[in-house]
Homo-oligomer: 704 residues x 2
């Protein structure tokens, strides 16, 4: 030991804010348990969720937290335990080859995928950094030379196939390598982390910042991975700002790091990340990555809206940034996060399609219509161009399955992505968009999909008629389809309506399927279904269709309706598909030998043998069910009629409410902003400018 | 008007506690809205959930709350609105015949079932009582003679088939009639309410108190109806105490009214009523009935534990009792409710079986094993003798479907019980108990079931080995079965184990099915299942079997295991069925033409062609999944072996844990308390006294 023994009890402790005090208590509890358990650095053996995997995860957390606790308390027991752990790794690490449980990812040394090794190093470098100066030179040398540097070398020079990619795994590697470089004063490591192994800038952290985020701070792989990627971006950025202030990293690319944090907060509903692409549906802002991101972003901006996010998280981090944030939160400086509609351009230039978020209230739990008009999202992308989702106070209403995976549950194939992730979760039919001839978009090839953007044609983020119009002609060989999704505030209706106009055109005839995946219990419908009551077949043979049980098929002339209930609310889905269409009620879960799939309902509008097709659909949330008082209001739909007319170069949709009120929404083919359009309805001329017009019409006799 | 105009603004308002102030604000908001909307007393037309139904419900709430607000504030606008509503009813009521939407219940006048008319009168009499003295004689006479008295006469003399029953509908009727009698000074009505129409005491409120509750305060129909029935019992009891103090109603039958309130609180988990018999699964202590019950019980006892329930409810009632309770809660007088294990005898004498609640902690969300060894529960009873349920911090784990009903949702058959309530929800196979030859208990005839109690043989409520042993020989013609359910605290295991020993015996051979209905997603199992992956048949033709889809059937020699995950926890169900048994994985929802059923998993242990059978099963909660930190611990079971031996006149079950520890549980045939038993295991003599013994055995080699 280099210093006289000191314990927490002998060091005067400053008065911490409640949130920060809780972080310290939490960390103490974990680190003290680790001290009691002793140093356990097992030879790596198990895949995700296994014993050695979880032990090494615990260890990097102990190293990080123990280091911070030593910095905050001066208690040498924390420092010594961190040192002992690091020395044990210094003994073990040089002996390790590729992890024995490596599967289809690049193998690490400590973990079954090198990604986890990177995460280990990001944490270990920070924890070590907090104690390194107080260690005797011999210890420092052993840890530097037998552990930190070899790990950083393994994750840089030793893994060019990882660190030179433009991918979140490369960001974690760059952060681990770069933090190690700053810690050891090793400029070579820092430069390789920042600029790629050849230091040309064609790879590395800066290039990742330029290519992985769109100018709006949207991360190519989607919200779930945006969250995951965020931690190395912000942690390494904070280190760069401290060590290389001249780089002005927080100003890089118009402040892209902070935009990325803000956008990560925006792509949530009620704090939960939208489960686009490969995503676990239970991920929220209450994750380690966001605790760090919010603390660092607040330190860099002092924007009090970040404090309200920290308040919702109920957490901070042990760093100085976390300490300041928790203190300002306790001082009452928080302001609500201003949730609003967003058009998030996708791709490095922001022109490769977009993710559109339409909200009617700043409430994080309020209505949210999501139009997924982005690009593929690399290997974790799903085949769901022009897909949509809907959320409101009851949660997810029009849903995305997310990923087929039980993260870190060893019995579920080691916690990795399951076979059904390819066969179901990423397939087009598992999403709320057009499927042609039972094939996924881009024939299910993500590398093809990566080449073709979606065209975001027009967007309106405010006012009573918010909308997104987008188109794609490359998802199928000879089919082009365009979709207008409109979120309509209607006076007298408590909840907004979602209007969906989807037009497909082709030179040849096809089967067109338009699925809707929803959450809730079916209440009733007006479709003449032939039900499979006592024997249940599957819908198809491949591309996800093999996973759908068919509950029934039916037809309905004119507008059809399906009503379901979720939580305290009813939802009526009104459909006006092309003539000759059928309706299929289905449920996921067929051909699932390992019980890997959740069983969730879907409704499919199907048209066979058509070249062109227009699907008009309207989602109407209504009514209220109160289990406590047993009061039910408006369990039947307020929308009584839905008409569609093709008028010149525009689509006209007429909606009638139960009180006789009518309104029309016109969507022009020409999406240019300043163009004037005019159509005649029931003898009345309707004129508007731009892609979308909306009109109140004369009241009809009220129906009951 | 008889008094000068006064408004809230002119009357000094006392300082109310927050809870009571919130009640006043809530009531004002509702009553003011009603004042603005004007008097709407429509001619009755619609069934439950319909427009006239909901309007009359709103009106009785307005009458009740408006009366209380007038009493509290002296604002005559409240009084006048209540008076106007009552006068409108006085005009309408005499013209009404049976309700046009009457179905299979006794029709009311204002509502489709007379039960709702009773609820109306209970509320209206209280609201009217708060303003009656201030009204001119002419108004009083009109309301007394054209509304209150005719309603009370209709619900008494006019409905002998209701009020003379021993049933919750009769209690509501008696309360309405009795409150009206006190209000009008009409002793005839009071006596008929208390003693039945012939005033003999063979029917009426006092007889209901004697027959509907067991000596432990358990209500024959089960928790859901216990809640529902409670309000008229406590409200009428409070009125009797005020008007007829000599009756000492709160001391009647050893304080049965207050016992009933306490027991209603006990038959919950995390505040939710156990969904036994016909029950909506979303009912909690947060209901109007319990707000009244808790306020009245607190007023009668001043037991501070009631205050913690009120705190959880977050509600009070507008009465003086509610005001005092809210004030004492605000003064910090609350104490936690002492949740504990309970043996609730069933039947008027407490000897007709029992509901057994085994808890390991006072925490309302803690582990709870429920053994349903009660009697039938009248027409709302299910055929589930010796059934069980399990709850813990993740919610319902081993589940009861409850009722097949969407309360007050008009599209679901007017909100009434659905056909699937008989065909599925009440059937034996929909429960966690033995089914013989695919028949429900008592051949599905509740009147037969009502005649035959269950024998509660032995119970231990405390210590590390809590248990219930019960038996029934009347559910099937020639099969007798006995079940021991044990809740075992095991050192080193974070959660208790549930051990289930079920023995059936018969003179002839049968098919024995033992279903387990559970909540969660299947993780894995060690059973060789033949799966119905692409076409799904149903399990049977009748008695609920027609509603079960078959996902697969399989076998396993020795102990079999199925593991599922719910919330953050894993559950392994270990089974040691008789030799030759098969396992069936199934799901509810087949033969459901109107989408009335929820789709929930079940596992069935099936033995064919046996006269005697012993099923040994063990439920093991284990591990933790943390979505936020992505940490998973103990996703595999800690129990590695389960053995069963028949030793003399006892069953011996041996459990081995992953660390090699072993313990034995012995269950003697002779359930008498003082009897000494002894068996020999591996050369060691195990001796115990009473029905159950438990022993730690020598450790075996630890397995991993």
């Amino acid at each position: 030991m280099t210093a006289p023994a000191q314990t927490s009890a002998t060091v005067p402790q400053p008065a911490y804010s409640p949130l920060f005090a809780a972080e310290i208590a939490r960390a103490k509890s974990g680190v003290e348990a680790s001290i009691r358990a002793g140093v356990h650095v097992p030879v790596p053996k198990d895949p995700g969720g296994g014993v050695t995997h979880e032990q090494h995860k615990r260890n990097y957390r102990t190293i990080f937290e123990g280091g911070q606790l030593y910095r905050l308390t001066g208690d040498v027991r924390y420092r010594d335990h961190v040192r002992d752990l690091l020395l044990a790794y210094a003994d073990l690490y040089p002996k390790l080859g590729p992890h024995p449980a490596a599967a289809n990812q690049v193998p690490g040394r400590l973990f079954w995928q090198s990604l986890n090794d990177s995460v280990f190093l990001v944490n270990a470098a920070q924890g070590y950094g907090a104690i390194r100066d107080t260690l005797p030179a011999a210890d420092r040398t052993r840890i530097d030379d037998n552990m930190i540097r070899p790990m950083a070398r393994f994750l840089s020079d030793g893994s060019p196939e990882v660190i030179n990619r433009i991918h979140n795994h490369a960001t974690w590697a760059a952060a681990g390598v770069g933090l190690s470089g700053y810690l050891l004063g090793d400029r070579d490591l820092v430069d390789k982390a920042l600029l790629g192994l050849d230091k040309s800038g064609k790879a590395g952290f800066l290039r990742q910042l330029d290519l992985l985020f769109s100018p709006d701070g949207y991360y190519a792989e989607g919200p779930y991975y945006q969250r995951y990627a965020l931690q190395p971006f912000v942690v390494f950025a904070a280190a760069i700002a401290a060590h290389d202030p001249d780089r002005k990293i927080f100003e890089h690319r118009d402040g892209i790091v902070l935009k990325a944090v803000r956008t990560a907060i925006e792509v949530t509903h009620d704090g939960n990340f939208l489960p686009l692409n490969d995503a676990m549906p239970d991920k929220s802002l209450r994750t380690e990555e966001l605790y760090h991101a919010v603390a660092i972003a607040y330190a860099a901006t002092k924007d009090p809206a970040f404090l309200s996010i920290a308040d919702w998280q109920g957490r901070s981090v042990l760093t100085p940034a976390g300490q300041v944030m928790a203190s300002d939160l306790a001082a009452g400086k928080a302001k609500p996060w201003p949730f609003a509609s967003r058009l998030l351009g996708d791709g490095p230039d922001g022109e490769q399609g977009a993710l559109v978020l339409l909200r009617t209230k700043p409430d994080p739990r309020g209505p949210l219509l999501v139009a997924k008009n982005s690009v593929q999202g690399m290997g974790h992308g799903h085949f769901d161009r022009l897909g949509w989702l809907y959320y409101d106070e009851t949660g997810a209403v029009v849903t995305d399955y997310g990923a087929a995976r039980f993260l870190n549950v060893e019995a579920k194939r080691g916690g990795r992505y399951l076979p059904e992730n390819d066969s179901w979760a990423s397939a087009t039919v598992a999403h709320n968009t057009l499927v042609v001839d039972e094939q996924s978009h881009f024939a299910g090839n993500w590398k093809t999909g990566e080449k073709y953007p979606t065209q975001q044609l027009a967007t309106a983020l405010d006012g009573p008629t918010r909308y997104s119009i987008a188109e794609i002609g490359t998802a199928y060989k000879d089919v082009r389809f365009r979709r207008a999704l409109l979120l309509l505030d209607v006076p007298g209706l408590a909840n907004p309506l979602t209007l969906d106009l989807l037009r497909a055109s082709s030179g040849t005839k096809h089967r067109y399927d338009l699925p809707l995946h929803f959450s809730g219990h079916i209440i009733d419908n007006d479709i003449a279904f032939t039900r499979n009551l006592a024997e249940r077949p599957v819908l198809g043979k491949a591309n996800g269709y093999q996973h759908l049980w068919v509950d029934g098929e039916g037809t309905k002339a004119g507008k059809a309706r399906l009503t379901w209930m979720q939580g305290s609310r009813f939802y009526s889905y009104h459909m006006l598909p092309p003539a000759g269409a059928r309706f299929i009620v289905a449920e996921s879960g067929a051909n699932d030998p390992e019980f890997n799939l959740r069983r969730e309902p879907a409704l499919i509008q199907r048209l066979d043998g058509a070249a062109d097709a227009t699907f008009v659909s309207l989602l109407e949330p209504h009514g209220e069910y109160d289990a406590s008082s047993e009061a039910v209001v408006a369990s039947s739909a307020r929308v009584t009629a839905l008409e569609h007319r093709r008028e010149g170069a525009a689509d006209l949709i007429l909606v009638t409410l139960v009180d006789g009120r009518r309104f029309a929404v016109a969507v022009a083919d020409d999406v240019a902003a300043g163009i004037k359009h005019s159509v005649t309805v029931d003898g009345r001329a309707l004129a508007w400018t731009g892609p979308v017009g909306r009109f109140d019409l004369a009241k009809t006799g009220a129906k009951k």
